[in-house]
């Protein structure tokens, strides 16, 4: 059984609240911004409220690269991706790493509720926590996978590539959904291929085999 070529799930990614990144996303300037202690505690409480609503989980697997040339990459199940930049990205790779994470629907729902109630302070903080934690989750998943692959002598790139960028059309999210069975994670796609719930992310990376020096 080739474990890496089937879906590997992490049911709850143990994130550490990325406070600095959240504050930066909210526009804090490290040198100029000043906030009094009372509002600062209110802000941190809202962050914690959001953090408590996260259900970060993810999936990854490896795909075989069937064929690659300057403008097109063909993967397992004859999945074709036409993009020069993407082809360059996988040029020297042995395998493609495919991953997806979601923070779950509880925080996006709470964000909607806060907006409906006119509590934009909380909504904005929830949004920033969700975005930064989704980024952190995809990175953490990649590090976990990298450690496991390295023990098997395979090197996973730190760089990531996402659908919607670099000429990889967003409709490829459909194939990503199929490959990782994301509906099973209560994720879905809109007509314009936006992932639901909000703050869900997918990514590609590349893997190279081991050779002793």
């Amino acid at each position: 059984m080739e474990k890496f070529f089937t879906i590997n799930s992490v049911d709850h990614l143990g994130l550490v609240l990325p406070e600095d990144a959240i504050l930066s996303r909210l526009g804090r300037n490290r040198y100029l911004s000043v906030m009094d202690q009372e509002l600062s505690v209110k802000l941190r409480l809202a962050m914690q409220k959001a953090f408590a609503r996260l259900r970060p989980r993810g999936r990854w697997k490896l795909l075989r690269i069937v064929c690659k040339n300057t403008g097109e990459v063909v993967l397992d199940d004859l999945w074709k991706i036409k993009s020069r930049k993407f082809a360059e990205f996988v040029q020297s790779a042995d395998y493609l790493y495919l991953s997806a994470v979601t923070i779950g629907s509880e925080l996006p729902q709470a964000m909607e509720q806060a907006q409906s109630a006119g509590n934009m302070f909380e909504a904005a903080v929830f949004d920033a926590v969700g975005s930064e934690c989704a980024d952190l989750a995809i990175e953490l998943l990649q590090k976990i996978a990298a450690a496991e692959l390295l023990r098997n002598g395979w090197l996973l790139s730190q760089r990531r590539f996402s659908a919607g960028y670099g000429g990889v059309e967003l409709f490829h999210q459909q194939e990503i959904f199929k490959q990782l069975d994301l509906e099973d994670m209560q994720m879905s796609l809109t007509e314009s291929f936006i992932i639901q719930p909000e703050k869900s992310v997918t990514a590609f990376a590349v893997v190279n085999k081991y050779m002793e020096q």
Binding site: V10, V34, V41, W154
Partner: protein, 806 residues
Amino acid sequence: MISRSQFRKLCDEKVLILDGATGTELIKQGMPSGVSPELWVSEHPEAITAVQQAYADAGSNIVYTPTFGGNEVKLAEFGLEARAFELNKTLAEISIKAVRSRGVLVFGDLAPTGKFVEPSGDWSFEEAVKVYKNQAEALAAADVDGFVIETMMDLQEARAALIAVRELYPDAPVMVTLTFDESQRTLTGVTPDAALITLQSLGADAFGCNCSTGPDNMAKLICSIKEYAQIPLIAKPNAGLPMLKDGKTVFNMTPGMFADYVDTLLNSGVNLLGGCCGTTPAHIAAAAGKVRSSTLPLPERFDASGIISSNRRIQKLSYDRNFVVIGERINPTGKKALQAELRSNSTALALQFALEQQAAGAEVLDVNMGLSGVDETAMMRKVVLQTLRAVDTPLCIDSTSPEAVEAALRVYPGRALLNSISYEKERIEKVLPIAARYGAMLILLPLDENKLPENCAERIAVLEKLIPEISKYGYTLNDVAVDALIMAVSAAPQAGNAALEFIDYCHNHLKVNTVCGLSNISFGLPNRMLVNRTFLAMAMAKGLNMAIANPMNADFMAAIQAVEALNGKDKNMMNYLANQSNAAAEASKAPAATADFGVQAFNAVLRGDTASAVKAVETALQDKALDARKFLNENLLAAIDEVGKKFEQKEYFLPQLLAGAEALQAAIKVLEPALQNNSQAGEVKEKFIIATVKGDIHDIGKNITALMLRNSGFEVIDLGKDVPAGVIIERAKAENCRLIGLSALMTTTMGEMPKVIELAKQSSLQAEFIVGGAVVDAEFAAHIGAVYAADAMMCVRLARELQRKK
């Protein structure tokens, strides 16, 4: 199995050599990638035998069983969980057969499950303990010499594994290594010093790190924690960094290059040295050769008592160090709101108190959940786990219930302070063994089951009975703080002197930490804060170095800073100057107390303080002659303009902008009836249509902009998200609206924006377009015939400019 003392003796005699990488060596022996290594090795015992004999030949004193993925959770990924016992036992037997006859020890390998244990994740701590117990039993059944818990990225999972082994085999040697990245933290944010303090107090026999980095970084990491190490330190670095060479993964260190770091590692404090990813028997042989020829002395051990930790921070507590405030507020006694919350099973207020106290300077947080109608044990466990998701401040577990103490200490991912152990039967017989089992530091209360010790001599007498009891569990005086037992001077006039004399005795004679619940002294007196502060200064002069108190009291915190500046503990008065200069500057900047409700309302909106803004307006409205329109313009709207200016100057950022806007909205709602009474006829607001374009469902930025536009006097018609061009244009025509804002967050949806503008042209709609969103920029906006707003305030400014042009 060897004993803990035998293992310690081995470490005291020489630097022990561990093995190197196993996974990649097995691949060289023919193991295919992606299979279960445990199953494959059980079917190919000759492969691991060859690898481990090569490590034995290279000089390894200890090899690990090939059971890295042998726990039930990892085996379940291959459908092998039912064979966990059999596989672990078999693999350990193969290792023992391979190398024991060569004098090499075999340690049973326990490694991560891949699940995140609470509080980092949602996996039950007890489940984790159970999984590791099952694996440890199988390894012990094969008669391994000891255990190693390795490559852990979460301290709580490492604790679960260590507790599992300790509960089964109290005298088995257990080594623990975590994996720290270049930032010297694990992926779950654990710091090496916090991990060391936690695990050595819990009974680890050696601690260190493996994987993730090469020997240079690992030496730095080991060096940074050696001053806290009472136990031997381990380094198992990778063979440098993995890199691509001709499209293949290689590690950049040859055996010779790896061995060149041996002296650096030994100097940093390493007592057990091996290798991880990319290392081979040749790397281990080269390193072992260097170790054997080294003339460096064996690493020194240090006394690390008097240190507590959370999973992300340590806190030193010592009678001769700086004063430490233990925040007292997470305690329902006398706090009705907290009592009500806890009774409704909510911990939100406790969490708020944790954040507030940490922000105010508490270095430790006391947690007491004793309240009628609340399951103290369950609530204590819950609050401990949740608090440590929010703050990194170490906790002081405060309970008289042995069950609550055990529940808290068992899941606490650090070394806690326990409040308290007295010379009372239940405390000595039940609570003290629990504290010792989890390695907690103790607060000693000089109380017994007889009368309350009123004077110093009686307290010393109780303490002298208490010290031998804690010594039985290996505690020294460095690992305790003595409670000075403060009583109310209103009831016992000599209570203050008795406490001061006792503090003096503890500090100067026993040289031990002293702590007190300070506010008891003033019970029943007027101006309690004055009495508390004065007594604090007197007690600190006698040597008091900790207090359980409210850090939210700025005068109290300032008094501590002042005493430390005066007694020389605050070197060059740096802390005092930093805090009190800031306080003075803040005081001069703060608006003076004013009876002018307009100024109060202005300041409240500026601070984003909704309650104060509403109160100021309500009070102002008591004046029947108030000109509401003037009040609005000169105070409330002037304040939000000032907020906007501060936002554009980056002095404020988004939460402050929104807090100000919300305070303004709440204030206007109160003022609204008065505004309608004196509204001017013919007053018409400028309309502004706003929408997120078709295909896009992101609307937070659009909603924030709508809020700021409303606050700035526009009549905002918000069409929502995923809005087709036709709907926007039709509505603009129907409303005769000339200002339209469009938002898009994705490259794939920003293409809708020119479609809306084009449709406006086709429909002969004379409108100005403002566009915004993460992917939009000024160039794109100009290209499609719009103007670009980088944020909500810029949109307000542009809307005003366009309004004026019209």
